[in-house]
C-alpha cells in the first residue's frame, strides 16, 4: 500500500504527521512524506504517483478550506478514486462537512491508538479498491 502523508497550508506542527508516517511504515506501508507547508497542487502531483490513499494533517483550523481544495484538485487531475483521510483538531460539525464532501475518515486527538488508525486506513484503502 502506497500512502501519501501530506501537510497542506502554513502550519508547521508536524509531530502528528511524523508519528503516522513512522507507524504506517512499521506496518509495512510504502509511505511518502515530503514535510510541511505543501501546496494542494504539490500534494496532488505526488498523489498522481500511484498512491492508494492521501492522508492530510491540518492543525491550523483551516482544515475545511484546505481539504476542499485538495479534493477539487484531485478530481480535476482524474484522481477522484483515491480516498482522502484527514487528521487534526477538527470539531464534530466540521467533520460532518468534510465527510459530506467525500473525506473517507477523520481522526482527532481522541484517536490516540495509532495502530488503530493505521488499521482503519488499511480498511479505507481496501474498500476503495473493492
Amino acid at each position: 500500500v502506497k500512502f501519501l502523508v501530506g501537510k497542506p497550508g502554513l502550519d508547521g506542527h508536524s509531530n502528528g504527521a511524523e508519528q503516522i508516517a513512522v507507524r504506517a511504515t512499521d506496518a509495512g506501508m510504502d509511505v511518502i512524506y515530503d514535510g510541511i507547508r505543501l501546496t494542494p497542487d504539490e500534494i496532488v502531483a505526488r498523489a498522481a504517483d500511484g498512491v492508494h490513499c492521501v492522508g492530510l494533517s491540518i492543525l491550523s483550523g483551516s482544515h475545511v478550506a484546505m481539504t476542499r481544495e485538495v479534493l477539487a484538485k484531485l478530481k480535476a487531475a482524474g484522481l477522484a478514486h483515491v480516498p482522502v483521510v484527514v487528521g487534526g483538531i477538527i470539531p464534530p460539525a466540521d467533520a460532518e462537512i468534510l465527510k459530506a464532501e467525500g473525506v473517507a475518515a477523520i481522526y482527532t486527538p481522541k484517536d490516540f491508538a495509532l495502530n488503530g488508525i493505521i488499521h482503519d486506513i488499511a480498511g479505507v484503502v481496501e474498500r476503495a479498491a473493492g
Binding site: K2, G9, L10, D11, G12, H13, S14, N15, E18, Q19, A21, V22, T25, D26, D30, V31, I32, Y33, D34, G35, I36, R37, T39, S60, G61, S62, A65, M66, E69, I89, P91, T108, P109, K110, F112, A113, L114, N115
Partner: protein, 508 residues
C-alpha cells in the same frame, strides 16, 4: 499570624495566549482580559504574519486570522494596541522568523504613543532553532535567520534594554515529545549557540555582553509528572547559572538568573472527558510556581477545551482564575523556598543535571545546536521519544484518565449543545484583505519604495536590520513586502524531509 501584615512576594505575570481574526477583534479580547485582572499580554499571530506573507497572498488563503491575529502593517498594529499603554504593558509576542518586523511595528506604535523605547518590556520569542526542530515556522536558511536573531538582540541591548529579545523555547520540544533531560539540554544548547554567535560578532563589548546574557529569557513547558517537572525547573536554574558563569564569565549573579515564562502542557490535555483538563492545568502549574528558587516570571495557561477547538473568552477566563486563586488566596507567596533541604528533590535535580550536562557535552562535541539540527540528530531523538511516549499510552503503561482508563463516564453538561468552542467569523479574511488594499492605496508609494531599497541594502550589507525595519514600518511597508525583501536577499529554506530519519522506508 496576620496575612495582611506579612511580606508577600509579588505574583508572577498573568497572561493568556490570545489573538484571532482581526486586530480590532483581538484588541477587544485583550482589553477584556486585562479588565479581568490579566497583567500582561501574550500575542498570537496568524501563520501568514508569522511567515512574512500579506493576508491577500495566495499562500495565505484559508489561514488569515486562524491561529492568531493578522498583522499586515502599522495600521493593524495600531488597532491591536489601541487604548493599551505600551510604556507600562509587558507584552510577549510569539514571533520568530519575522520577529524583527513585528518588533519594528511594535516600536513604531510605541513611538507614536510617546512611550520611551527604554521603557518597553516583554519578549519576542525569536527562537528560530526550535522552529527547525518542532514548530516549523521558519522562512530563511539557518545562517540568515540566526543573523536576524542576533540583530534583534543587539538592537534591544542598545535601545530597549528592559525588553527580552529572545525567549529560548523548551516548550515546543516537550510538545514534540522531549523528555525532561532533552528539554534541558536542547534548550540550553540553543541559548549557547545564539550567545556564542553574538559574542563572535564582535559587536558588543565584554562588559555589555553580561547584559546580553542577562536579557536572555526562556519559555518552558510543564507536564503532568509535576514533581519531575519541578525538579527540571530547579535544574534549569542551576545549570544556567553555571553556564553564564563558566562559559561567559558573568560576575553579577542577577544577570545569571534563569528567567522564564511558561505555558503549561497542552500535549497531555484530552479530548475525551475534557472537563478533567481543568485539574490537569492546575497540577501542571504547581511545578512552575511552588519553588521560590525556580518560580516562573510569567504564566499562561491553556484552556480546558483546547483539544476540541478554539477556546471562548469564558474558557480563557476560567484558566486565568486558576492563577489568581493560587497567587492571591493561598499562602504560597508568603514563604521562602519550601523544597530547600529536601533530599528527595535534591537527588532528582542532581540526576537531571548530570544527564543534561552529558547531553550538552555530546551536542558541543557535534559542533553545537545548529550542527546537531543539520545532521538530523536532534530531530530523530525527538521523534524517537515521542514514539516511545505514544506507545506507552497505547499499551496502557502510561495511564491517561478518561482515555485509556476509566473511560466510562456520565454525559458532560459542559460539552452538551452548540457553541462549546469559539468559531471565528468567516468574514475576517475578506475584511482584512479589504483593509490591506485600502492601506496600500493610501500610503506614499515613494517613501515605501525608498524604505524597501534601504531594507534590502541592510539585509545585503549585514548592518543591523532593525533601524531600516522601523523606518519601513513607519513608511507603511506591509508584512509581505518586508518578508519578500528579505526572501530576495536570503533565499527561502526548505527543510530536508525527515522521512529518512523517521523510518527505514525508501518512500519519499
Amino acid at each position: 499570624m496576620n496575612g495582611a501584615q506579612m511580606q508577600r512576594d509579588k505574583p508572577w505575570i498573568f497572561r493568556t495566549y490570545a489573538g484571532h481574526s482581526t486586530a480590532a477583534e483581538s484588541n477587544k479580547l485583550y482589553r477584556g482580559n486585562l479588565a479581568k485582572g490579566q497583567t500582561g499580554l501574550s500575542i498570537a499571530f496568524d501563520l501568514p504574519t508569522q511567515l512574512g506573507y500579506d493576508s491577500d497572498d495566495p499562500m495565505s488563503r484559508g489561514e488569515v486570522g486562524k491561529v492568531g491575529v493578522a498583522i499586515s502593517h502599522l495600521g493593524d498594529m495600531r488597532t491591536l494596541l489601541d487604548q493599551i499603554p505600551v510604556a507600562t504593558m509587558n507584552t510577549s509576542m510569539t514571533i520568530n522568523a519575522t520577529a524583527c518586523w513585528l518588533m519594528a511595528l511594535y516600536v513604531a506604535v510605541a513611538d507614536e504613543q510617546g512611550a520611551p523605547r527604554a521603557a518597553l518590556s516583554g519578549t519576542t520569542q525569536n527562537d528560530i532553532i526550535k522552529e527547525y526542530l518542532s514548530r516549523g515556522s521558519y522562512v530563511y536558511p539557518p545562517a540568515a535567520s540566526l543573523r536576524l536573531t542576533k540583530d534583534l538582540i543587539l538592537w534591544c541591548a542598545r535601545e530597549a534594554p528592559k525588553f527580552n529579545p529572545m525567549n529560548v523555547c523548551s516548550y515546543h520540544l516537550q510538545e514534540a515529545g522531549a523528555t525532561p533531560v532533552q528539554e534541558l539540554s536542547y534548550a540550553l544548547a540553543t541559548a549557547v549557540a545564539v550567545l556564542d554567535l553574538v559574542r563572535a560578532s564582535g559587536q558588543v563589548s565584554e562588559e555589555r555582553f553580561a547584559d546580553v546574557v542577562g536579557a536572555m529569557s526562556f519559555f518552558v513547558n510543564a507536564g503532568m509528572r509535576f514533581v519531575t517537572e519541578l525538579c527540571k525547573m530547579r535544574a534549569f536554574v542551576e545549570l544556567w547559572d553555571e553556564i553564564a558563569l563558566e562559559r561567559y564569565g558573568v560576575k553579577d549573579p542577577a544577570k545569571r538568573r534563569f528567567r522564564y515564562g511558561v505555558q503549561v502542557n497542552s500535549l497531555g490535555l484530552t479530548e475525551a472527558q475534557p472537563e478533567n483538563n481543568a485539574y490537569r492545568i492546575l497540577i501542571e502549574m504547581l511545578s512552575v510556581t511552588l519553588s521560590k528558587r525556580a518560580r516562573a516570571r510569567a504564566v499562561q495557561l491553556p484552556a480546558w477545551n483546547e483539544a476540541l477547538g478554539l477556546p471562548r473568552p469564558f474558557d480563557q477566563q476560567w484558566s486565568l482564575r486558576i492563577q489568581q486563586i493560587m497567587a492571591y488566596e493561598t499562602d504560597l507567596l508568603e514563604y521562602g523556598d519550601i523544597f530547600d533541604g529536601s533530599k528527595e528533590i535534591e537527588a532528582k535535580v542532581e540526576s537531571l543535571k548530570a544527564l543534561a550536562r552529558a547531553e550538552l557535552a555530546a551536542i558541543d562535541e557535534m559542533g553545537g545546536a545548529v550542527q546537531a539540527i543539520d545532521s538530523g540528530y536532534l530531530k530523530s531523538k525527538l521523534v524517537e521519544s515521542n514514539t516511545a511516549r505514544l506507545e506507552g499510552i497505547e499499551r496502557g503503561e502510561q495511564i491517561v484518565v478518561g482515555v485509556n482508563k476509566f473511560t466510562t463516564a456520565e454525559p458532560s453538561p459542559l460539552t452538551a449543545g452548540e457553541g462549546i468552542i469559539y468559531v471565528p467569523s468567516a468574514k475576517a479574511e475578506t475584511d482584512q484583505i479589504a483593509r490591506l488594499k485600502a492601506w496600500r492605496e493610501a500610503r506614499d508609494t515613494r517613501a515605501v519604495r525608498t524604505a524597501l531599497e534601504e531594507l534590502r541594502a541592510a539585509a545585503k550589507s549585514g548592518v543591523n536590520i532593525m533601524p531600516a525595519s522601523i523606518v519601513a514600518a513607519k513608511a507603511g511597508v506591509t508584512t509581505g513586502e518586508w518578508g519578500a525583501a528579505l526572501r530576495g536577499e536570503f533565499g527561502e529554506y526548505r527543510a530536508p524531509t525527515c522521512s529518512a530519519s523517521l523510518s527505514n522506508s525508501d518512500g519519499g
